[in-house]
């Protein structure tokens, strides 16, 4: 357990020291939201209808930047290997990195909400519920994303490989998160929010345990 704490401190420290990149990733996400509106046209009613979809597409696209960067630091000078040789438990390193990435993606998602509200006039009074959905979605992206970032950081064509492997896998996260967010914005007459939240929770439970089990095979030769 102490390894988890030490690893988490390391990852949060890395994210903190690289906060300039965090701002850059946020700018990328906000730019994506802007570009979506150019693709759709200035009618606010249409934009407001698709606001949830744009928010999550923006977060999904910029998430690969955060995930890929989080492992660039580890493999650049074989720092991760040095930790494994201490020895440090690969599982602790995974969960710490995945947790740190989840928090980073959550912060990114939360920061994109005001952009969504301004650009698409799509607001919701239920802020805590929205933040909860964003946290579940961010965690859902981070669990497999961190593992695939570990793999692709040591492969050729890593920029294309990570999204190629990750996006088909997180289709359920995208569907559930967009539906849940849209219910929060446009109202939830039939009370479907619980079902979509449950699906997000289920996705997280499966992938946080499965990826944790398989991670040491990815980093150990």
């Amino acid at each position: 357990m102490s390894h988890l704490a030490a690893a988490l401190r390391k990852d949060l420290l890395l994210h903190w020291r690289a906060r300039a990149q965090v701002v850059a990733v946020f700018a990328f996400g906000a730019a994506a939201l802007l570009l979506f509106s150019f693709a759709v046209g200035p009618e606010t009613t249409v934009l407001r209808e698709q606001a949830a979809g744009f928010l999550w597409l923006g977060l999904l696209l910029s998430s690969t930047l955060t995930l890929a960067e989080s492992f660039h630091a580890e493999t650049e000078h074989r720092a991760l290997e040095a930790l494994l040789l201490l020895p440090a438990s690969a599982r602790a390193l995974y969960y710490a990195k995945a947790l740190a990435n989840a928090l980073a993606l959550f912060a990114l998602g939360a920061a994109l909400v005001p952009v969504m509200v301004v650009l698409y006039d799509a607001a919701t009074p239920r802020i805590p519920a929205l933040l909860g959905i964003i946290l579940l979605g961010a965690a859902g992206l981070s669990a497999p994303g961190t593992l695939y970032a570990a793999m692709t950081s040591q492969a050729r064509a890593r920029q294309t490989l990570l999204p190629l492997l990750l996006f088909p896998l997180v289709v359920p996260v995208l569907l559930a998160a967009v539906k849940a967010t849209s219910l929060l914005i446009h109202g939830d007459p039939m009370g479907q929010l619980r079902a979509w939240t449950l699906l997000l929770v289920c996705f997280n439970v499966i992938h946080w345990s499965l990826c944790g089990l398989l991670f040491d095979r990815v980093v150990e030769d």
């Binding site: 390894h3 030490a6 690893a7 420290l13 890395l14 720092a79 290997e81 040789l85 201490l86």
Partner: protein, 193 residues
């Protein structure tokens, strides 16, 4: 001591012994433990300084050592300050490693390797990139290790460093053992055996 031309397998040997790389065939015992079956035990007793520094460019010198100490425990954490001073890094402890020169990075990597009280210390080309003061710091550290009774395996081209400090030596060619014997009798790899 291990020596041999570039690409003769020195680094690979050290990485395999440190369980950083997997041996395709055969096995070995380090510090009394098998590198395949008891990897965790080997890793508890072995420290490796490889070609790659194993450092986080984004973190400062002190933070890099603190991170490693976090996994090693309080004993190692207590030695962080001393190691930074011993390797002349105390005044740059707060700067990010990305701003360090190659020599400074090598000193920090050495400090990080010695953070663990390892029974076996594997050093791959430790003299590379070091300036003369760095040489003296490294020799002092090697003497301290020998005084503590640790086993040191040094992979280097600089034969004179090896001859004085080491007891035995082996020469590798194309991944094969070409010669082994007392370090004193070591001649240039090109010279007639």
């Amino acid at each position: 001591m291990v020596t041999g031309r570039n690409g003769s397998g020195k680094s690979t040997l050290l990485r395999v012994l440190a369980t950083a790389a997997r041996a395709d065939r055969g096995t070995a015992r380090v510090a009394g433990h098998d590198i395949r079956d008891a990897r965790g035990e080997v890793r508890r007793r072995v420290a490796l300084l490889g070609h790659d520094s194993g450092l986080y460019d984004g973190l400062s010198a002190r933070q890099n050592l603190d991170v490693a100490a976090g996994f090693l425990g309080p004993a190692a954490a207590a030695r962080v300050g001393a190691l930074l001073r011993d390797f002349g890094l105390a005044d740059r402890a707060g700067d990010p490693v990305s701003a360090f020169s190659a020599g400074m990075r090598k000193r920090l990597a050495l400090a990080r390797t010695l953070l663990k009280d390892a029974e076996v210390v594997l050093l791959d080309e430790p003299y590379g990139e070091l300036d003369p003061p760095g040489f003296r710091l490294l020799d002092a550290a090697l003497d301290a290790l020998q005084a503590r009774g640790a086993t040191v395996l040094l992979a280097t081209h600089l034969l004179e460093h090896g001859r004085q400090g080491c007891d035995s030596a082996i020469v590798l060619e194309e991944g094969r053992l070409a010669w082994s014997g007392p370090a004193r009798d070591l001649r240039e790899p090109g010279a007639a055996p």
